[in-house]
């Protein structure tokens, strides 16, 4: 039998290139160079993250499991009533976020999505971004994807927001006049004072930071870095943070999810 030309497969492959490029091609950090923040941490911190009985972040995950089952809002519904067993329904969700929300016409991150469920589906008040209930729910949902590779959404509608995130990442800011990229793209293997600079990878959030003595979100960590260069941080949930998160997610594609991480 004469082999059929494999044009359809080739065309399909070619067609998927722009989508792939849109997500992982438009970043300044090569796939093979990507390292999770945990790779730069001390052996003690690594051991603390790896052992669920020693990882303080697991307390928030357990709180989240209870909140998942708690009926709330005017609708009196629990997350579980609509989503069932989180181990199944939420597996693979966090590695895709931020994702596009058609209703808002813009991307939302995982906590933003949870608040949309509270408002739209539970008819409850939105939770504060850095409050313990939101951190617990976000950690619980992200925990269901622990070990899965970061797989940023390829939705073409996200492209302009991700590009804006990259612009922000590369913009010099603050009194020290430094961009995120100055440190996290150009000097990630160096040390700033006593701290490894690392690549600003988002794959372990929310995470327990020893300096905070608490779980904190990716936005809180970004605020720390902005304050560090003496720039005015954005307000929590600002569109600028979501755009930055989108860009960070694209830079992180392929890294395993580690929520809840532990950092110094």
């Amino acid at each position: 039998m004469r082999p059929r030309p494999r044009a359809p497969a080739v065309i399909a492959a070619l067609l998927s290139i722009p989508a792939l490029l849109a997500v992982s091609g438009a970043v300044a950090l090569e796939q093979g160079d990507r390292r999770s923040g945990i790779a730069f941490a001390s052996p003690q911190t690594q051991a603390m993250q790896a052992d669920d009985t020693a990882n303080p972040g697991m307390l928030w995950v357990m709180d989240g499991a209870q909140l998942w089952r708690r009926p709330d809002g005017a609708a009196g519904k629990a997350c579980q009533e609509c989503h069932g067993d989180a181990a199944q329904s939420m597996k693979g969700v966090a590695p895709r976020y931020p994702d596009f929300d058609a209703g808002l016409g813009r991307p939302v991150d995982l906590s933003g999505r949870i608040n949309l469920c509270r408002v739209r589906h539970q008819r409850a008040a939105p939770l504060a971004h850095e409050g313990s209930e939101m951190l617990a729910l976000t950690a619980f949902v992200a925990f269901q994807s622990r070990g899965l590779p970061m797989a940023p959404a390829a939705d073409a509608r996200l492209a302009p927001f991700r590009a804006e995130g990259r612009r922000l990442f590369e913009q010099r800011m603050g009194q020290l006049d430094l961009s995120c990229a100055n440190c996290h793209d150009d000097h990630w293997s160096a040390r700033l004072g006593g701290s490894p600079v690392t690549q600003a990878q988002p794959n372990a959030y929310p995470l327990y930071r020893l300096e905070w003595q608490a779980l904190g979100s990716l936005q809180r960590r970004m605020r720390n870095c902005m304050a560090g260069v003496r720039a005015e941080p954005f307000a929590y949930d600002a569109a600028d943070y979501i755009d930055l998160e989108l860009y960070l997610a694209a830079r992180a594609a392929g890294l395993p999810m580690e929520t809840p991480g532990v950092r110094p």
């Binding site: 603050g174 100055n182 000097h187």
Partner: protein, 165 residues
């Protein structure tokens, strides 16, 4: 051997000349900006790749300068540089060691590098300590202010110039 070294020297000289030209233009611009806000920013004149004249009337204090460069929150030098009087594990490596800098650079050259490294290398990550930042979203508390005062910069110049070893 000799000829190669000479050519390399000439090339380096040409490059430096270009950098200096760019530097003059930049510093000239900053000077105009500085005059508009003379209360917080120091005025200075760049000659070659140096600021020859001290920024203040009184000479700097090297002992105070040693404390300043090791300060992680005020001067931040030690976050990027090593070769300073601070525990080795607290010193950064985003920048060259400053050990023996006083033997490599003149006082005036050190002064310009602290006041405005970007006059010599616009892409530098070293903050311009004597000017107001062109960066976006400068936090309220710092807006329009230099990172260090003229006195503090002179103290650091005195200290770094003493590092001859």
């Amino acid at each position: 051997m000799r000829a190669a070294a000479l050519t390399a020297g000439l090339l380096a000289g040409l490059l430096l000349a270009w950098l200096l030209l760019a530097g003059f233009l930049l510093v000239g611009f900053l000077l105009v900006a500085a005059r508009a806000d003379a209360q917080t920013l120091v005025g200075y004149t760049v000659e070659g790749d140096a600021i020859g004249a001290p920024l203040t009337g009184a000479p700097g204090d090297a002992a105070r300068g040693a404390g300043l460069v090791a300060d992680r929150t005020l001067s931040l030098c030690v976050l990027c540089h090593s070769g300073l009087e601070a525990p080795a594990h607290m010193q950064g490596n985003l920048a060259p060691s400053l050990a023996g800098i006083g033997a490599r650079l003149s006082e005036g050259q050190i002064r310009l590098r602290i006041v405005n490294m970007k006059a010599l290398n616009p892409e530098s990550i070293m903050p311009a300590y004597g000017g107001s930042s062109p960066g976006a979203r400068v936090a309220n508390a710092w807006r329009g202010k230099p990172i260090l005062s003229g006195e503090e910069i002179e103290d650091i110049v005195a200290y770094l110039s003493s590092l001859k070893g």
